[in-house]
Symmetry: C2
Subunit: 349 residues, 2 copies
Amino acid sequence: MQDTPYLAVDVDILDRNLAAMAAAARAAGTRLRPHVKTHKCVEIARRQVALSGAGISVATVAEAEVFAAAGFDDLFLAYPIIATGRRADRLRALAARVALRCGVDSAAAAVLLARAVPGLPVLVEIDSGHHRTGIAPAQAGEVAAAADAVGLEVVGVFTFPGHGYGPDQREQAALDEATALADAATAVARAGISMTVRSGGSTPTAGLFDSDVLTELRPGVYVFQDAQQAELGSARMADIALTAVATVVSRAPGRAVLDAGSKGLGADRPAWTTGFGRLPDRPDARVVALSEHHATVEFPEGEVPAVGQTVRVAPNHVCTAVNLADELVVVADGVEVDRWAVAARGANT
Amino acid sequence: MQDTPYLAVDVDILDRNLAAMAAAARAAGTRLRPHVKTHKCVEIARRQVALSGAGISVATVAEAEVFAAAGFDDLFLAYPIIATGRRADRLRALAARVALRCGVDSAAAAVLLARAVPGLPVLVEIDSGHHRTGIAPAQAGEVAAAADAVGLEVVGVFTFPGHGYGPDQREQAALDEATALADAATAVARAGISMTVRSGGSTPTAGLFDSDVLTELRPGVYVFQDAQQAELGSARMADIALTAVATVVSRAPGRAVLDAGSKGLGADRPAWTTGFGRLPDRPDARVVALSEHHATVEFPEGEVPAVGQTVRVAPNHVCTAVNLADELVVVADGVEVDRWAVAARGANT
């Protein structure tokens, strides 16, 4: 047995989640281009590609390099890449090897991208309400024209409706996503540029997307799900495929302390969550505090586990938890059947 | 040049921080046993040992293994270790090779430790107010007696005054630390067990500790400092030795988005902080949101940096940021002079 804490993946739940999303996209006639930042595992991306075709989404040039080296040949770098320094050379090398497309949200970034990779296919990033990166839909024509003028190939527009990560915000975020992508497509067409891709999607909005507008979906978290998704209502606790297996190291009335902390689970903790993760097998337990190697968990009276017992914790945000581990322990019917390397762990650049 | 984001360590600030803490401990006649979980770097631990003698503190058996393999031979595993499974064998192998001492806070854990490593030196962990692991000072005698009865060697008591991580709580936490260690030492003596170590310390309380009570200090963060310590007032912004170097990837009125996110900085965000980190060179900037590869930063009017510009971000909690990186870029006078491996990155078990 692996010493705790470690991340375990129930491969049957994983496969069920993969199949359900692939089937939903297929039924809607929308291309699924899953975001592999969540799992960073070659083995899982292969399963996704087997279900939905070649395309995957990545967040960084370094992630693209890992998946290109593993044979994936259709990559969307869904990020407003700044092609300076070595990154310009790395992008050029990637584009020579695989079908690569990149995000862009400013004329300044377009100039750098065009200098690095003349003719690179790009998608203009749109802000649909998350207010992170991306430009307003009405300005999409200007950025598309600037990209076109420097010799990039504008193939579409994309957005991340991240404001759907909140209680009762999923429906509105899905509406905003469709409206923003439709408006942006109109603005790009008015600028005289023809393009075909309208890409959106996140796990919270993936069941609600407008298939008349979206031609492509990029959810990531759905493969594993997590405590956040269960508390948002976009997944059930039973859909959670990845948990941290932890040992009770200390105990006091009403609480136990586990050896899984922020260096294993990640410290993500939106204000609307009930704590720093959930225990799928103990629905009434609450993870009230997290240190680097401690999770303090409150239990109902009489249910505090004993020192030495192991329990399972679903991280709040599975993407950051996976990025802390070198490998995932793959389990079927409670028995270890494989180990998968987190091949793109730490691939931030 | 390294592509962003990456972690840079200013070696002159680092050396100043190391020397200041070593001098303060020496002046107080208290042994400094620095906690290496913060940096996980062999090179930094060597500098610490050169200043203060052989002893270091570690958080996990896996960290102990990394530092033992690098030649460190006096290790305090400041954690209530549960010696089950392979961990029992790993502890035994370590204890055969280096001077190892462990934390314990229950009779149940003592039984497991004694079975794994008969005669192992242990320190009883005390809860001085942080309410994480550790027992009440008055119960220290019982746990010490239980450990003694199963053949462990009780050499001391220890606490972590983590409740000092809050505005205006440092002084009270330092008082609580001294009171709890003194009371626990009395309780252990009453149980008829003689021991000598009263170990405490955290970076926020390190300037305030009671040298009449504490025989040993275990601060970690002081080597690098971080945004949290600066906002707590236990360090100055100018004492921050480690920053993430990031590129502006997107820009809107009043804000810029950087390519350093929660997968590079960590997501730690206590309620009392001003945001998800600080920009030491831009004191009025606020990191208002963090995604995996995005930091959204608000700037005063007219001060928003341009797309492509690089800026430095001090993480809120440097320990979790370092644990995300494979190496640190070592800088002197703004020029890269070395790279240090984060040798114990991910060493959670």
